[in-house]
């Protein structure tokens, strides 16, 4: 396939970089937990807030807000600092909150000069709201006072927390698998054009490695799902479609091993490979976007954009794709070299 040693070393170095940078770069400060979550309107709420990677004790200008909507924002009257990761904020919840629902949902915002501001959506629910409108002193101009701190850190996302680092392995392996399958597709087309055995060997080895990558993608996704969504396997559309795609490619292995006649075997497996790739694209990239999915990118949104993949993540994510692809090509290269040797021996035996 590719000559030389440099690309193998590049793959190793990139993967090593991903393993080190992917684990060493910290998460941005965030809110890990806040309790209690339910409060009646008109009462005083003593909210104990648990921070993550935060510096509440050493930070200056520590403030906390409860945001019901863009106008109704409540500032904490008092904040008691217990430690760097723990504070207790006191809010005087008003009798009346302008909302159409029976329960008002508030976003918690904690802001300080060192960490910048961190947000926890749906942190507090206020019930038994008074029906009669009354004047409340909201802190509407708070947005101008928030601190924006640029740190070299991965984004802090609720529920995900540190598992956002799985992006470098789970998501990157699917991307690498796609690149390997594109290589296999190219080799299959080349085989059908030239009927050169080498292209069939390349196609087979790239597809095999791609299937192993895909199986790892499913297994790693199951682990990630267990600790974020709660179960190893859900009826999420992208999961099932990816499983079907992997089954399609598993059938490639079975098809290959079931045909005795060599010419037919190579020809049919090349044709089937093209078919499997054509089926893979809608299964993984199109159908999950047409319906609701737990994966990012549902409803036609781009999956790798916005807040899901910020620039710090990109600095590790793209090298992860390149590194894993190069390692995959390396393994495929070993497989195809083995197959070529086997081919030579078989030809010798046939002559004898």
């Amino acid at each position: 396939m590719i000559k030389g040693l440099w690309w193998k070393m590049l793959g190793v170095i990139l993967f090593l970089y991903v393993c080190i940078a992917g684990f060493v770069v910290p998460l941005k400060p965030g809110i890990y937990n806040a309790s209690p979550t339910n409060i009646k309107a008109g009462q005083t709420l003593n909210l104990s807030i648990e921070g993550y990677n935060s510096h509440y004790k050493s930070a200056e200008e520590l403030t906390a807000f409860l945001k019901f909507d863009s106008i109704q924002i409540l500032k904490a009257t008092d904040i008691k600092v217990n430690s760097e990761q723990s504070i207790e904020a006191t809010f005087n919840i008003p009798e009346y909150i302008n909302t159409k629902k029976k329960i008002a949902e508030a976003t918690l915002i904690v802001d300080n000069a060192t960490d910048g501001y961190s947000i926890m959506p749906a942190a507090v629910f206020v019930n038994s709201i008074s029906k009669t409108p009354s004047q409340v002193d909201w802190n509407t101009d708070f947005v101008n006072d928030l601190h924006q701190v640029d740190a070299f850190a991965f984004p802090f996302r609720n529920i995900l927390y540190e598992t956002i680092r799985n992006t470098f392995f789970h998501v990157a392996i699917w991307m690498s698998m796609m690149i390997l399958f594109i290589g296999a597709l190219y080799s299959s087309i080349q085989y059908l054009r030239t009927r050169d055995r080498r292209h069939d060997i390349h196609s087979y080895s790239l597809t095999s490695t791609g299937i192993v990558y895909g199986l790892f993608g499913l297994a790693s996704g199951a682990i990630w799902a267990k600790y974020t969504w709660g179960t190893f396997w859900t009826s999420d559309i992208k999961l099932n479609m990816a499983a079907i795609a992997m089954l399609l490619y598993a059938a490639y292995w079975i098809l290959r091993s079931s045909i005795e006649d060599l010419d037919n075997k190579y020809k049919l497996s090349a044709i089937y490979n093209i078919f499997a790739f054509v089926a893979l694209i809608p299964l993984i990239f199109v159908i999950p976007r047409l319906t609701d999915s737990l994966h990012p990118g549902n409803g036609g949104n781009p999956a790798l954009g916005g807040e899901d993949l910020d620039n710090t993540l990109r600095m590790v994510f793209y090298p992860a794709i390149i590194g894993l692809t190069l390692l995959g090509v390396w393994i495929s290269d070993l497989v195809s070299r083995y197959l070529k040797l086997e081919n030579i021996i078989q030809e010798k035996e046939n002559i004898l």
């Binding site: 684990f23 490695t209 297994a219 790693s220 682990i223 267990k226 083995y338 086997e342 021996i345």
Partner: protein, 70 residues
Amino acid sequence: MKLNRAIGLIVCLVYPYLIFAQSNVDFIRSTGKIYSVVAVVCLLFLFLAVYLYRLDRKISDLEKKIKNES
């Protein structure tokens, strides 16, 4: 040789379980669920190791074949 490789495979397969067998679910969920990422990386290594082991075995067979012929 064969025994060594078998032991190597068993160690590869069992090692992650040895780590996680002693722990409960709370361990994996502690410190921001970081150990689920560790589990994923271990799994990646395991998949590649098993795949390379199978390739290794195939090449050994080929080597034996050549040895027998010569």
